[in-house]
Symmetry: C2
Subunit: 778 residues, 2 copies
């Protein structure tokens, strides 16, 4: 209460205080107290020279923002004036068509992945089964073991080579990258066709290679790439520009399509159209909009429809879209549950949260290790090969050692291995290992009670948990959903079997507990709730079991969040991506725009000299330049820099320079010569300033920037609080926010990193705010 | 193209043009061309003196906005400074608890409504059945007819009296009101406890009274009221202030809770937790936020859980939460469908769109008639009684005339009426009529093939279509979902029966077509897609049928939107509510803030005279007043009004005046005397300026407004375009947006109505923009 006396109630309004960092007072600890001393040397909150590997509290300076705000310049006005409402209708129609195509192509790619994996895996396990069964009595078991190893290592190495040497951004599931993209961060190369190709063949390789991976994440990423590709009518990889749909060549439009693509990807991956929409909303879309959501829904629906049509035909039941075999995790008949079981579900949810947090912690440590020691490309491929070898070794050892035999005919497995079992029996662990992880999930969900021994499932759980933990983060294309579900299904089934032993009179359905365990484990790892609930409901066709799944997932999230963040967020933080959270940090109303903005600002005059533009673009790395009445003379002092007029982007300036739109040589009122199409054509990979060449004479020319700048873009007063800056920035998806003083003179600029630097942490029941540093080393 | 020459490319930046209205050029027609001439007399785009009843293109001036933006004044800073992160954790925990309570209480209210309706309806139809069956051979059928009429009219009149005389805002389903509230419009009395009570007893009366209504809409509205009530810890109706949770007394927080309440209402009404979340998103929430969505999801889940627990106990199966009887529309076993049926579903979707548009058109005409001629309260009650009488007459006539008999034992109806049927048979139409509409929907969904004659279902469809159309808009508490579903189920079943006749070899499940028809009809009327799909999936437990439902609903929406808007939107437009759409109108970049703002603006000095504040508040109706350096002298000219400093609300000024926070008498730095709690206490029903009394001496005092105003609230330049104004306004949920000139001087203010005035219309494949007038008569 006494703080009111310490600080004056009236905030300084005329005077701009040049303090660098205002730490919110509160009970939270602030880690980087050396920031203030840094300030004097390094104006943009840079990190110290040496960056500790694995620091989660750094932002990388290399990420640029997407721009969700429309540049309402005179060219756009001209364009609108010449079009009229018919064009709006056409554009709206084109949008629906594109979402239709996104749905179809995403599903076709998913079908391709599905069928390829199925065919190749069948070949592989068929061959392995033959050798195991023929060798087991000939004492040549080392042959199938070595064969298995070769059949694991070869595809994995191929996949890893593709990813490591051709397109490293295709590594992993792609969900973190898509999430960042939808949040508004430009992740280089993430939506290119090359990435798509590497991703598709990469994921086929890693699943066929027997790694503990799933195909779902990569399918979601594929959907995003398909969306970005189709909506733009051009591909730089393929060097094709169809010259259609150029009116969608804006970050704004492209991001909408990509969120539809991600939803279509989920829909195709799990056969879950509603889950797809919710995934896109929960994990991605920052901008809620009814119209957009309908289109996303449409794309998801088309995707599911296409997938089911193709797969039902492939499975020999053309047109039968209600065929159970289309459900990813197999059809559950109505699952019966009672009130008292909710306590078990809650406990299982908490266990899932704990195990998920453990998984994330181990994986974090491992990733740090990788960042430190596994940098060379060949090492990455080697690690992938090693894990492939280990996977088959673990599998083989389990089958060899564990003597869990069951009579044939119970289990829907395709390749029952006899191993040391008697005639007419098969090795249960062999059945689990000799199929894709997805099929193993189905087995654990649907195998009748008594199919497994407790010990074999327990060993399988521990082994698979560690394997999948090591696998995620390898330089291969790999999803995390299926391995998490499989691990969870294993311990969930253990719970079911335990209950059966504890409560002999009680009729326990172990498949039900396997499902709950799978949900809990996955929820504990990725910390999604709504979309995951719906995805699991849709992928098992069991609507009545929604409530227990929800409760399990919420518990898993709560318990997991107590210890650390979701796996995707950990990886995003490790990469130093300036992801904006959903809400401004609490208790930060005493941090002002003047404290977080970058200054001084490089500005341009409304009519600017070509030479100066080129010099500035060459010497500065900024991407947005305010346009002012008259420039400040002493840029290093905190003096004001002229009345704000508008803002222009580096990319726009480069297009202007390349097209030589100089006052002296071009009649800029001629829309044939100068139109918005000029900018659309250059989108999205604008050239560098180094590629611009002007003659010495042209350097003396001028450009009138006013028709091209964004006039009246959003600005804020220097006395605006951080939450206010945050809400404007996040709510409207800005890239640059000009900060002005009371007389509307430009005094600073706020970019994504300036806002993302303030991060709230929650850990073991405590919370606080931390100010991140920005590093160029990350 | 030549337009570029007509208008200069550089927009005027120094000069403020005082044009009133800028009509976007394009091909769309603009209806009200007389607006420009109006401008000279009526500055705020007022409508002409005589307002045509039923005009959809007027906005009422009586609606105020909610304020989603936080007022970051010094009191809030003080409050934050004295709290710290522990308080943030506490607040977050309190939020979860409140959402828990919202879920529980909403479900309990829903249970109460459910059980009351069931018990009372059972009594009623039991009694009727007895009289019908005993009178049919005694030629005294007029007795049950009259009895039925009495049993219809009495409850309906009670319900109508409650609604008409006690709380007119409780009429109808409440969904439009909740939608407006969540959009940010303050609908008076919509979330009061009195409204809740009238709503609950009103809906029981109207359903028991046999009207063509459902209980779902009112349940959703109830959830919203419960949420608003619980979250505030006070009720003005009950004159209780618990003095807890006062930190949630902001429009911002309250609106979040209300969206959770609406979701919990849907969850309780249909047993559809995911549908609830999606409903809240699709129809309501303007501000997408992951954390909020999780809490909404939690409330929905708790609501479903509570409802199912109570109802399973009531139905004698305590704890059996997977009991099929809990599904609102009965359990569908896996519905088989093939590719070829999609064409039928698409055609049915289109039919639903057509019928829905017809329904909306008739209802619109009827509503206009009501607005014109049925104004007196007694007339409204009389109309309700008349419809009640008509409903029973229609029903009785159908049962009497149509001779559709089936053997007993096929139909799960509770009260089979024999009528003129042979022994061991029952009258099919009697079975449909002698139950609540919801039970009738179940019958049409699940009655085995061959249960009905084509003619009787056809007659029922036409009768019920017209009846439900007349019923919606009566002065009773009534939902629209169930009657629409019932109408749709009727014609859907007809389609199924038709197919059976046309394709004799084909095994047709008429229940499946009834479900599709129901979806199509409801979709055609309300034009929701995503949430409705999920609600129907959850209420029938048939996940595999999601795809056909989605396609049907999207088709119904597209076809319906071709003709008119959804029923809720029509009623919202009739009431002249300034609802903000999701996106700015297209092609409006040439309308500038200076053209849409209200001006001149009444401003205050930073330290203002008490007398002047009182005089201004008494003479002006505005709710927000910019605070400036020095006031403009000539308020009528377009001169600037001093440098912008902040904005203060009428309600804040009144609280200041009432608490006599004058510079001369209060030490405002003392947080015990002056704190944010003062404002929380007065929220939400601030007193009128008339209730403020100050002495003549106090009138000479001054108030320092700076600690209380919202400093650095969002402003825009006069040269900002309409889309830019719109996005800021909508995206951040503002109530006032101050427009400044290049020197940051206040020149105007934009409120919700100024933005909502620009409405896009789409009709029969054409679109355009219309500028609405603002009327004080509506």
């Amino acid at each position: 209460m006494s703080s009111a006396e310490r600080q004056p109630l009236i905030r300084p309004e005329e005077e701009i205080i040049s303090y660098g960092v205002n730490v919110a007072d509160g009970t939270g600890s602030i880690n980087n107290e050396d920031d203030v001393t840094q300030e004097s040397e390094c104006r943009t909150h840079c990190a110290p020279e040496t960056v500790e590997v694995g620091n989660l509290n750094l932002l990388s300076s290399k990420f640029e923002s997407l721009d969700y705000d429309t540049c309402e310049n005179h060219l756009l006005l001209d364009e609108e004036r010449s079009k009229g409402y018919k064009f709006i209708m056409k554009k709206s129609f084109a949008r629906w068509i594109i979402f239709l195509l996104i749905g179809i192509f995403t599903a076709l790619i998913a079908c391709f992945i599905d069928i390829m994996i199925e065919v190749l895996s069948d070949l592989k396990y068929n061959c392995l089964q033959f050798y195991v069964d023929s060798c087991v009595w000939n004492y040549c078991l080392v042959t199938p073991y070595l064969l298995w190893m070769v059949l694991n290592i070869v595809p994995v190495v191929i996949g890893s080579l593709l990813v490591t040497y051709l397109e490293p951004v295709a590594a992993g599931s792609g969900i973190p990258q898509v999430k960042c993209y939808l949040n508004g961060v430009k992740i280089p190369r993430v939506v290119r066709i090359k990435t798509l190709l590497v991703k598709v063949f990469g994921v086929i390789s890693s699943v066929v290679g027997g790694l503990a991976v799933g195909k779902e994440g990569p399918m979601i990423h594929s959907g995003a790439v398909v969306a970005a590709g189709i909506s733009q009518g051009k591909s730089t990889t393929l060097k094709v520009d169809l010259r259609i749909l150029d009116y969608f060549r804006e970050d704004h439009e492209k991001r909408d399509f990509v969120s539809g693509g991600a939803a279509a990807g989920v829909a195709a991956a799990f056969g879950a159209p509603v889950g797809g929409v919710l995934f896109s909303l929960e994990e991605g879309t920052s901008f809620w909009n009814q119209g957009l959501t309908w289109r996303i829904f449409f794309a998801s629906m088309v995707s599911t429809f296409t997938l089911n049509s193709v797969l039902s035909t492939y499975h020999g039941r053309p047109g039968d879209l209600s065929y159970c075999g289309l459900l990813n995790f197999g059809k559950f008949e109505t699952i019966v549950y009672t009130f008292s079981e909710f306590f078990i579900f809650i406990l299982m949810g908490m266990t899932g949260g704990l195990l998920g947090a453990l998984f994330n912690h181990i994986n974090y440590k491992l990733t740090v290790f990788r960042l430190r020691y596994i940098q060379a490309r060949w090492l990455k491929v080697f690690e992938a090969a090693m894990v492939a070898a280990l996977t088959c070794t673990v599998g083989f050892t389990m089958i060899y050692v564990m003597d869990d035999c069951k009579p044939l005919g119970q289990d829907p497995t395709k390749f029952p291995v006899q191993m040391f079992c008697g005639d007419g029996q098969y090795n249960v662990l062999g059945a689990i290992w000799f199929q894709t992880p997805e099929a193993s999930v189905r087995s654990l969900f649907h195998d009748p009670p008594g199919s497994h021994k407790v010990l074999s499932v327990a060993v399988f759980f521990v082994g698979y948990f560690l394997l999948s933990c090591w696998t995620y983060g390898l330089s291969v294309s790999s999803g995390l959903f299926i391995p998490s579900l499989l691990t969870g299904a294993a311990w969930g089934r253990l719970v079911g079997m335990g209950l059966e032993i504890l409560l002999p009179g009680w009729k326990v359905d172990p498949g039900k507990y396997a499902l709950v365990g799978a949900a809990a484990q996955l929820g504990g790892v990725v910390r999604m709730t709504i979309s995951l609930t719906v995805i699991l409901i849709e992928a098992t066709g069991s609507i009545s079991f929604g409530l227990p799944l929800m409760i399990t997932l919420i518990m898993a999230k709560w318990v997991g969040d107590f210890f650390n963040e979701g796996i995707y967020d950990i990886h995003i933080q490790l990469a130093g991506v300036p992801l904006l959270p959903w809400e401004p940090p609490p208790l930060s109303n005493n941090i002002y725009a003047s404290g977080i903005m970058s200054h001084p600002v490089v500005t341009f005059n409304a009519v600017e000299n070509v030479g100066r533009i080129i010099d500035v673009l060459r010497s500065e790395t900024h991407n947005g330049f305010p346009i002012v009445d008259q420039q400040c003379e002493d840029a290093d002092s905190m003096k004001t820099c002229g009345t704000y007029r508008g803002i222009i982007l580096r990319s726009q300036l480069i297009v202007l320079l390349q097209n030589k739109i100089f006052n002296e040589s071009v009649e800029i009122w001629n829309p044939k010569q100068v139109s918005i199409k000029m900018f659309w054509k250059a989108y999205p990979r604008y050239q560098s300033i180094k590629d611009v060449s002007v003659t010495q004479e042209e350097r003396l020319f001028t450009i009138d920037l006013r028709p091209f700048m964004n006039p009246a873009s959003y600005t804020l007063l220097h006395s605006a609080s951080l939450p206010r800056v945050f809400r404007l920035f996040r709510g409207l998806g800005l890239r640059h926010l000009v900060i002005v003083n009371d007389s509307n003179e430009v005094i600073g600029i706020v970019t994504r990193k300036d806002v993302a630097r303030f991060r709230v942490w929650k850990h073991r029941g405590r919370m606080g705010m931390i100010e991140l540093m920005i590093s160029e080393k990350l």
